[in-house]
């Protein structure tokens, strides 16, 4: 049987606090696991409709993104294709490059290229301040999200190897966290 192609994508801006939790989870997965050839782990940033280019020719898509769903910060919620598409595209696109998850999926489906299986792992964010890095709530939720990604791979019968030693340090963390703590602190 042909090996399925899977993309695991972290979505969000690493410069805007908890919006960077998706890329953070992608970084944790890259550092902590070894995947088979058909699996791509990517920090997709905030691609807008450019997301379409990453959706074609794959069998399954796992996205990790911050969500605004009114739940307490750090809540992890799973969404499937029908949840994402329920709202349809946004009524008016003034700015055609704005985030466009549902639009991207609809375009890929129209072209007959969309993935069959879609899982969106949503992490309720707390703060989106410029340069702030992740809140404690989002950081904790990131570990849960990693487990959810691996559980989805198990469900899809995709093998992977967990590495023991690798840890992930976000290159975009605030300068204050990157420097040694001063004696007054």
């Amino acid at each position: 049987m042909k090996k399925p192609k899977i993309t695991i994508g972290g979505i969000g801006s690493v410069l805007l606090g908890d919006d960077g939790v998706g890329p953070f989870v992608a970084g944790m997965l890259e550092a902590g696991c070894r995947f088979d050839e058909g699996v791509i782990v990517a920090d997709l940033g905030t691609p807008g409709l450019d997301l379409v280019a990453h959706l074609s020719g794959i069998d399954a898509l796992i996205l990790i993104d911050s969500v605004a769903n009114g739940d307490p910060p750090g809540t992890v919620t799973l969404y499937r294709k029908e949840d994402i598409l329920r709202n349809g595209p946004s009524p008016v696109r003034m700015d055609p490059h704005s985030p466009a998850l549902s639009e991207s999926l609809l375009i890929a489906e129209l072209a007959g290229e969309g993935p069959e299986e879609i899982l969106l792992i949503g992490i309720t964010g707390e703060r989106y301040d410029v340069g702030a890095g992740l809140t404690a709530a989002a950081r904790q939720a990131a570990a849960t999200a990693v487990a959810e990604v691996l559980a989805e791979l198990d469900r899809l019968n995709i093998s992977y190897t967990k590495l023991q030693t690798e840890s992930f340090s976000a290159w975009w963390k605030p300068l204050a966290e990157a420097l040694p703590v001063s004696s007054e602190a």
Binding site: N69, S90, I107
Partner: protein
């Protein structure tokens, strides 16, 4: 009596551009462009290592990633007066071109074609007639009756399902939609095919840049690509041949499909060559350096004021002295503290939010000005500035496009028509065709240079103790991008990015002069003010991008954008 229309994606979640227009007697009498999201991302860079800045600036926007990376390394190199090896220039140029080709194809087909193409007319089309029509326009081999029929069936299936999906929010049946069913079908068929070719362009970015959407191969002083012609892992002949094949396919799509479609659609809406002009001051900087000292460029830059093509002033380099001295940012109508316009090296970004007030402050975008004047940037500026200076490659494709429009519309299309909404679309296709030809040229320059035995890709930067300033520019898909850096003791002291969409989306300045979006909307006729399709046509023609901001998926089902008529 006038009425006010607000088109406003209302949350930070989807979209950050708001347009307000006043309508009198079915025409726009006044306009305001606002950005509803704070852009102050530059503050993140303070005190960081200038060599790392590009990794952060690449995250300003998720769509224009590579362009901000490139402008950033160029800014540091400019401050250090650090030359960049020829190989690195060619590799960077290929990445920039491939990104731009991807961007332009996406813009026309996925982001703006449906302002002109009526999806609901497609089921009425005769695929055989559409195929015959296409044959007369282009040698493209994928315009067969079967290919068109397959595309038509996709639309029929979507319509029959009762769920319009991606098409559910178009202004279908609007009186301003006027293409025949056959032309609508052709354009839609290419909308689907375009997905393949934009992906091929992105593959080139990924192969040279290491990853996409965020390239990994840049360093201050050059690139990090290891070159070894015999290697499969490094940049060798295998990879270069694949890149060439991909580029050739994309170039063919641009010449035989994109350029032709734009001309055909334009020829059927000739009145849109008279609408949407606005600010006719144009700015573009030179790009695609040809050597390590950036003494020569393949794309010209310069300035045209008040539409005076004959009075064009060219720039010698991408960080031309006149350009460096002439840029300021005004905050008279932006949500920032400050009185007088400031030069970007002295720029401040202290937010001072007040409610939207069209008379006072109403946007998070600053107003960049050139010698105090608003400037339009983007493909139209690039093409006009080149055309005015007699740049042969610009003339070649501009004359080709105008000739094509003239032939289809059976009128004489002249360069004067370019100051318009359709002029911006035509210029983008012209620029894409130019970039396609240059992609092939720079691929050959790279291969020839490597064949000579030059494998250098990087010069090491050394930072002085004192304070230095630099500007890095890039003539990006949406226009002139400039990053301004002040470095002190090897650390970043100040950083300002003056991005294309702030030139174009800028609010009024202290003199009250409209920004380019605003000015372009004045006098636009609206057939149905409650369905402001005409406003979208003109704003979309600039290819606005405000995505340099937060992005959170909202699954709650509330409406995330609205059109409000007061």
């Amino acid at each position: 009596m006038s009425k006010r229309i607000t088109i406003d994606p209302i949350t930070r979640i989807e979209g950050h551009l708001r347009i307000d227009v006043e309508v009198e007697n079915y025409a726009v009498s006044n306009a305001w462009a606002s950005c509803t999201m704070w852009r102050g991302i530059e503050t993140i860079l303070r005190d960081r290592d200038p060599r790392d800045a590009w990794m952060f600036t690449q995250r300003f926007c998720g769509v224009c990633t590579t362009v901000h990376a490139m402008a950033s390394v160029r800014a540091v190199e400019d401050a250090l007066r650090l030359p960049v090896p020829a190989n690195a220039q060619y590799i960077r140029n290929l990445v920039l071109i491939a990104h731009a080709l991807h961007d332009h194809i996406v813009h026309f087909y996925q982001l703006s074609a449906l302002d002109w193409v009526d999806i609901l007319q497609i089921p009425k089309a005769d695929p055989a007639a559409a195929s015959k029509l296409a044959e007369g326009l282009s040698p493209w081999t994928r315009n067969s009756r079967n290919e068109l029929k397959a595309a038509q069936d996709k639309v029929k299936a979507v319509v029959a399902s009762g769920q319009l999906g991606i098409f559910q929010n178009g202004y279908w049946g609007h009186p301003a939609m006027r293409l025949s069913p056959e032309v609508n079908l052709l354009a839609f068929t290419h909308y689907v095919q375009a997905l393949e070719y934009q992906r091929k362009a992105l593959q080139v970015v990924g192969m040279l840049g290491g990853k996409t959407p965020h390239i990994q191969n840049l360093v201050v002083g050059g690139v990090a690509n290891a070159i070894d012609l015999d290697s499969q892992s490094a940049l060798g002949m295998d990879k270069l041949e694949t890149i060439k094949t991909l580029l050739d396919e994309v170039v063919q799509f641009i010449n035989e499909v994109y350029l032709i479609d734009v001309c055909a659609v334009a020829a059927m809406y000739p009145e849109w060559f008279k609408i949407g002009s606005g600010v006719t001051n144009y700015l573009a900087v030179p790009d695609l350096p040809l050597d390590s000292n950036a003494a020569a460029y393949d794309l010209p830059g310069g300035v045209i004021m008040r539409g005076d093509i004959g009075g064009v002033q060219g720039f010698k380099t991408a960080s031309d002295e006149v350009f460096r001295e002439s840029v300021t940012e005004d905050v008279a109508h932006s949500y920032y503290e400050g009185e007088k316009p400031l030069h970007p090296w002295k720029g401040e970004t202290e937010p001072q939010f007040t409610e939207w007030d069209g008379e006072k402050k109403y946007s998070w975008v600053k107003s960049p000005r050139y010698k105090g004047q608003p400037m339009q940037v983007g493909p139209l500026s690039q093409v006009l500035v080149g055309y005015a200076q007699g740049h042969p490659l610009t003339r070649k494709y501009a004359d080709l496009a105008l000739g094509q429009v003239s032939a289809i519309a059976k009128v004489k299309a002249t360069p004067a028509l370019m100051h318009s909404t359709l002029g911006r679309h035509a210029a983008r296709a012209i620029r894409a065709a130019m970039l396609g030809e240059l992609a092939q040229k720079h691929w050959q320059l790279l291969v020839d240079n490597i064949a000579k035995g030059d494998l250098t890709v990087h010069n090491e930067p050394v930072f002085p103790w004192g304070e230095i300033e630099g500007v890095g520019t890039h003539e990006a898909p949406r226009g002139t991008l400039s990053h301004w850096i002040v470095i002190k003791g090897g650390k970043i002291k100040n950083y300002q990015a003056v991005v294309p969409s702030t030139w174009n989306a800028s609010p009024r300045d202290e003199s009250g002069a409209h920004g380019p979006y605003e000015a372009s909307l004045l006098h636009t006729p609206l057939a149905r003010p409650e369905e402001p399709l005409e406003v979208l046509r003109t704003v979309h023609s600039f290819d606005p991008c405000m995505a340099c901001a937060c992005h959170t998926f909202d699954p709650s089902g509330r409406q995330i954008a609205r059109v409000k008529v007061l």
